[in-house]
Symmetry: C2
Subunit: 335 residues, 2 copies
């Protein structure tokens, strides 16, 4: 029997500035033989995570030309030499952008199904839990507070904003088009939305949050964070969840104006937040999210592209604000 062919999307070039589709190329390799205790996984879904962009700088220790693009994902066991895994089983793992990957048992995790696999790579996965814990726990909005969310139509943001709304806050989202702004207010229940490309951001935030911002949930960093600082109420809180504005560049802005001066005179609180710190409560969170989804209090948006070959365009598009909700690539169907 001939070895299976593994299509792999590899790094073909290191960007000088912004990432482009041409920085990737498809290559093929035979699927490697399983070593002792190893499991072969066929990729079903690939997660598109903006922060992965920061590994493509050409720096030592980062990704180099020829490397398979890394990614988390969901796959199905094809063969296993470890007793815990059997053919057909669904697993989460670092699939990478390829058809097949081989893993030791420590690199595979199973999960209790709560819905379609796409839900597990979004709402019940890292991005959904990040939005949930980041808002419900790290942010802790109080009823009546004004909550501002950046990248509010993204995988994390669209969940975070809805959680704040469920908790009784007035929620304002910042997005990259009027169309997405309309989606936030029309479908997701945001109280107001700002198209960041429509004009100066400071004035737009002031108009949408005339009394200032109590809680800013930031996925973007850079000038957006700097502008938001000036629109916070005294004693306002900022949750730093990401800084996507600085991912797609070889020259990231490494400093934030207004720190410490504005932080001091407004008595702001800034919290760096990483979802893993809350993982001991993830089953409870998944149950809560499932209940809200069931009751239609929460809407989940999945932005699915079909085919491994579309991974580069799907990924590059994240940095142009193309996605609505969680973007992922369907590589194969569950069998």
């Amino acid at each position: 029997m001939p070895a299976k062919i593994n299509r792999q999307m590899v790094i073909a070039g290191i960007p000088q500035d912004r990432l482009e589709v041409s920085h990737y190329a498809m290559s093929e390799a035979p699927v490697s033989e399983l070593g002792e205790n190893q499991t072969l996984v066929r990729t079903l879904l690939i997660s598109m995570d903006p922060v992965s962009r920061t590994r493509i700088t050409g720096a030592p220790g980062g990704l180099q030309i020829g490397d398979v693009m890394p990614s988390s994902g969901i796959g199905q066991v094809v063969a296993s030499r470890h007793p815990d895994f059997t053919e057909g089983q669904i697993v989460e793992c670092q699939t990478g952008w390829q058809d097949y990957s081989v893993h030791g048992p420590e690199a595979l995790s199973t999960f209790a199904r709560l819905g379609p696999l796409t839900h597990h790579l979004s709402l019940y996965g890292v991005s959904g839990l990040t939005g949930y814990f980041g808002m419900a726990e790290a942010g802790g909005p109080n009823p009546g507070e004004t909550v501002l969310v950046s990248a509010a139509g993204g995988a994390v943001g669209h969940i975070a904003g809805q959680v704040a709304k469920i908790r009784g806050a007035r929620v304002v989202g910042i997005v990259s088009s009027q169309e997405k702004a309309d989606w936030l207010t029309g479908t997701l229940g945001y109280d107001a939305a700002i198209d960041r490309r429509a004009g100066p951001l400071s004035g737009a935030i002031k108009q949408a949050c005339p009394d200032g911002v109590d809680l800013y949930f930031d996925n973007v960093g850079g000038e957006m964070l700097e502008t938001a600082l000036t629109r916070m109420k005294d004693h306002g809180r900022i949750v730093i969840c990401g800084y996507a504005s600085q991912y797609d560049t070889q020259t990231p802005a490494t400093a934030t104006r207004g720190v410490p001066s504005v932080v001091l005179y407004k008595r702001l609180r800034i919290d760096g937040y990483v979802v893993m710190d809350y993982y001991d409560q993830k089953q409870t969170a998944r149950g809560q999210l499932a209940a809200w989804l069931e009751a239609d209090k929460l809407k989940l948006s999945i932005d699915l592209l079909e085919g491994l070959e579309r991974a580069p365009e799907g990924f590059v598009g994240l940095f142009n604000g193309e996605n609505r909700g969680k973007r992922m690539i369907q590589v194969a169907e569950e069998e």
Copy 2:
């Protein structure tokens, strides 16, 4: 009877870069007649507050050439046309750098004496309360934690560090000379001290805090804050109390490197802190500080210069790290 002469230290020039003694000049003016409800106060003690430097930029709304240098202080009532104030009474007010000042009743406050007047302009005044609340309440050190204090020999810092020590923390101070470092460890009870001029700060913090910093109490900002960020433990806390490194310049650094990136990956918490937010508890705090002072658990350092004419050198010296504890100017003796 001839009008009293009021010596006034006025702004004589706007610095291009660092403030110098030559940017001040003494002038004289007659003491003005009291209007209805006004009180004439003779200045006894002038507080030297680094942040006042930020008003001498030449910017509209700031201090201009010829203006009396503003300052809080303690004085004694000479005459009053308001029933609440009588000759000989001790008051706190914005004396400015001058022999006499005239105030409405809302601008004067009296206080219950707990010791010498110098204690009231230091330990029981803004700087002492800032160190106390900033550490005890905003910082909240836990026993065994490593607490780092910048400007640790200053008016605020020398109190903050001792409060952390009383609360059971391991306390490390950053100062501007080996002599002050020895004073911190030899007299104030700090566990370790760093002379910031002796070599690279990052390595020195690493040596003094080998397991990282739990709580950083920052009075300095700029590169010191940036360096401290990289030495924090995961989940460490930073209290922003001031940013004195950026006061004595016409070109302050307005941004901090490592925000948001280091804040995110270390899950840091940054709190802007202003003492006035705790003023409803100030009598309790003064009682606690008095008890610690009485029990010799806390040492107060006052850096007193005699004579209004020495105010410029005293103030400029703050930015060279000359002072040990709270610097103030004795303009006249209580009568």
